[in-house]
């Protein structure tokens, strides 16, 4: 197994109190596999990713428990200096907004080449040649001419390709893409997603795709983990989850996708607001918004029930059977 996150806990200490952002998340990704992590803002999906990368802002953030095994090593036990060598070389991250993720005062060639200068000790000239090669790789037209241009001279889609190129530069074993297409036009989204999926297959990398967009996930992901209030509430192979969700929250997410054949009907919305992380509801965190909530949900926190025999599907709902049956 390439990456195993086990029972990860992250909290943020603020003036108003302690926000529990991640509460016992476990997931794993294998080489060549794509795991989609789905959830609303504040569900802890990005914080988990930051903890894996080791770029959590400490303080206020703090990892209070769990382990992150990457190729057998527990990253949380590594010294910061060793950790830094892992970042970029063995695991890399693609951010949401490519314009703000690229340094405006450096040309894209310099920024791409920097990967080789920092990690491989290459000369600037060789690094530039590598940069052109990478830009070709992610299909930026006229790479040779454009390598000296600055980020603002590229379109949104091209910039995201550059970010992908930077992440791929050293052929890492794992890539974490945090909402890689959210800032892009819908038409460009598909192209960038396809490129990412293709390169992932080519390099046989593990990919964690963080998103709140169910549409993006459907084509490229192998498995989905749905997060709510810092916990995983459902994991499933992607097609099983779309066909029949086993958690009312997933059900709600699927129902709130606009559909062509429902034209004229009011769009479904999950009632209520995402939970306050400083005061997560007792029992099942989703119960105040759940149409299926019973008394037991108010008091007992549901464990992850095995939905499929082989453990490929799990759901943290006391009533997963009923949810699955009604799907």
């Amino acid at each position: 197994m390439l990456l195993q996150v086990r029972d990860l806990h992250v909290e943020f200490r603020t003036h108003d109190g302690v926000a529990k952002a991640v509460n016992g998340v476990s997931y794993e990704v294998d080489a060549g596999e794509t795991l989609a992590v789905l959830g609303e803002s504040g569900s802890g999906k990005s914080v988990t990713a930051q903890a894996i990368m080791g770029i959590l802002d400490v303080p206020p953030g703090r990892i209070t428990g769990g382990e992150i095994l990457f190729q057998g090593r527990d990253l949380l036990q590594l010294k910061e200096d060793d950790r830094r060598k892992v970042r970029g070389a063995e695991m890399a991250m693609i951010f949401q907004d490519a314009l703000s993720s690229l340094n405006p005062v450096l040309s894209v060639g310099e920024q791409l080449g920097e990967m080789f200068v920092v990690h491989r000790g290459m000369s600037r000239k060789d690094a530039r040649a590598k940069a052109v090669e990478l830009m070709d790789r992610v299909r930026i037209p006229a790479a040779k001419e454009r390598v000296g241009q600055y980020p603002h001279q590229f379109s949104g889609g091209m910039r995201q390709r550059i970010m992908i190129a930077m992440a791929l530069a050293l052929e890492p074993a794992l890539i974490i893409a945090d909402e890689p297409t959210t800032a892009l036009d819908v038409t460009v989204q598909a192209q960038v997603m396809d490129l990412l999926a293709e390169l992932q297959q080519e390099y046989h990398m593990g990919l964690i795709l963080i998103t709140h967009d169910l549409g993006v996930v459907a084509d490229v992901a192998d498995r989905i983990a749905v997060m709510y209030a810092g916990r995983i509430v459902e994991t499933a192979p992607v097609h099983d989850l779309y066909k029949a969700p086993a958690h009312p929250y997933t059900r709600g997410l699927l129902d709130s996708i606009p559909r062509l054949d429902h034209k004229g009907h009011e769009l479904y919305a999950i009632k209520g607001l995402p939970p306050n992380l400083m005061a997560i509801p007792p029992g099942c965190a989703f119960h105040p918004r759940c149409p299926r909530a019973q008394d037991v949900c108010l008091t007992d926190e549901p464990p992850l029930y095995a939905v499929a025999e082989d453990g490929a599907r799990e759901s943290a709902c006391h009533f997963w059977r009923e949810t699955l049956r009604d799907a």
Binding site: R84, R87, F95, S107, S155
Partner: protein, 306 residues
């Protein structure tokens, strides 16, 4: 965000457009873009030429003044202009024109050295405070506050009155000592802003260490406000040197300084106003030139004002 995107989009479709690319179609960085703006700004051209002239005469004053500023004839004290001595003579019978030309050297030296010192010290301390935060930041900010609290004139009178050196360095040191907190506050603020940019986080996620992040990603994006403040401060530092010299605690004779000449001339302003006019005029023009330059630089480096 949308606006920025669509702007970039259009730019891409029009290579050689007005903003993103230079006349030769070569990509332009933030700095070359600022330089392009500056070159077309008349305020910059006027102040730039003036400053160039001042710098040249402060290095080679004999280019335009053949006399010796310390060669004085008491018999000619306070006399008006005559051929070869267009500005007349001062109370000691020294040639006012020669002294005014030679006075530029002290002002420019003090201004440039004090600005460099304050800018380097201030941006180093402020930058580190902003980047690393925590107790280092708290300590440094309080120290800066203490220096902010020292009144300039009173501080100068107290600290510089005990100095006996006749060089410019005590004055430069004093100005650096009082000037760095201003730069350090600006540097701290802009480093904190730059540090929060996504690309710094992205660089970190791709394995950059602290040094590289600070030098390559934070500093280049935080330096513009420091440059602007430093350029404007240069003018005020020159004025401050003249003020201290006027009060008798700045530069000392035999150093030739506009401040000293103004102090001497002030005593006989009613008998011989020409003695005051020239050094005071030169001082005003110099300060004005640097402040204009600072304004032009700010306009070029702060795109929000454009």
């Amino acid at each position: 965000m949308d606006l920025a995107m669509s702007e970039a989009e259009t730019l891409e479709k029009t290579p050689g457009g007005p903003l993103g690319t230079g006349p030769a179609g070569k990509p332009r960085s933030l700095w070359s873009d600022a330089w392009f703006q500056l070159r077309r700004n008349p305020v910059f051209l006027v102040s730039g030429l003036l400053i160039l002239f001042l710098v040249v005469i402060s290095i080679w004053p004999s280019l335009i003044a053949s006399g010796d500023p310390l060669e004085c004839h008491l018999s000619k004290a306070q006399e008006g202009p005559e051929p070869g001595h267009p500005f007349g003579y001062d109370s000691q019978g020294c040639d006012v024109y020669t002294r005014t030309v030679y006075g530029a050297r002290a002002s420019i030296t003090v201004g440039v050295c004090a600005t460099l010192g304050a800018a380097l010290l201030g941006s180093l301390l402020g930058g580190l405070a902003g980047f690393f935060g925590g107790w280092w930041d708290a300590l440094l900010s309080r120290i800066a506050d203490i220096f902010f609290g020292i009144p300039v004139i009173l501080g100068g009178l107290v600290l510089l009155s005990v100095v006996t050196s006749t060089t410019v360095w005590p004055v430069v040191g004093f100005i650096v000592l009082l000037g760095w907190p201003q730069v350090s506050r600006i540097a701290r603020g802009s480093v904190i802003t730059a540090k929060q940019n996504d690309y710094v986080q992205a660089a970190r996620a791709l394995g950059a260490g602290n040094g590289r992040m600070l030098l390559r990603h934070v500093a280049p994006n935080a330096v513009a406000p420091v440059i602007v403040v430093a350029t404007i401060a240069l003018g005020t530092y020159i004025a401050l040197e003249a003020t201290l010299s006027f009060l008798g605690v700045g530069l000392r004779p035999p150093t030739v300084s506009w401040g000293i000449d103004i102090a001497n001339a002030a005593q006989s302003i009613r008998n011989a106003p020409h003695m005051l006019l020239w050094p005071a005029g030169a001082l005003s023009v110099t300060v004005l030139a640097f402040i204009m330059l600072g304004d032009a630089v700010r306009d070029a480096l702060d795109p929000k004002l454009r």
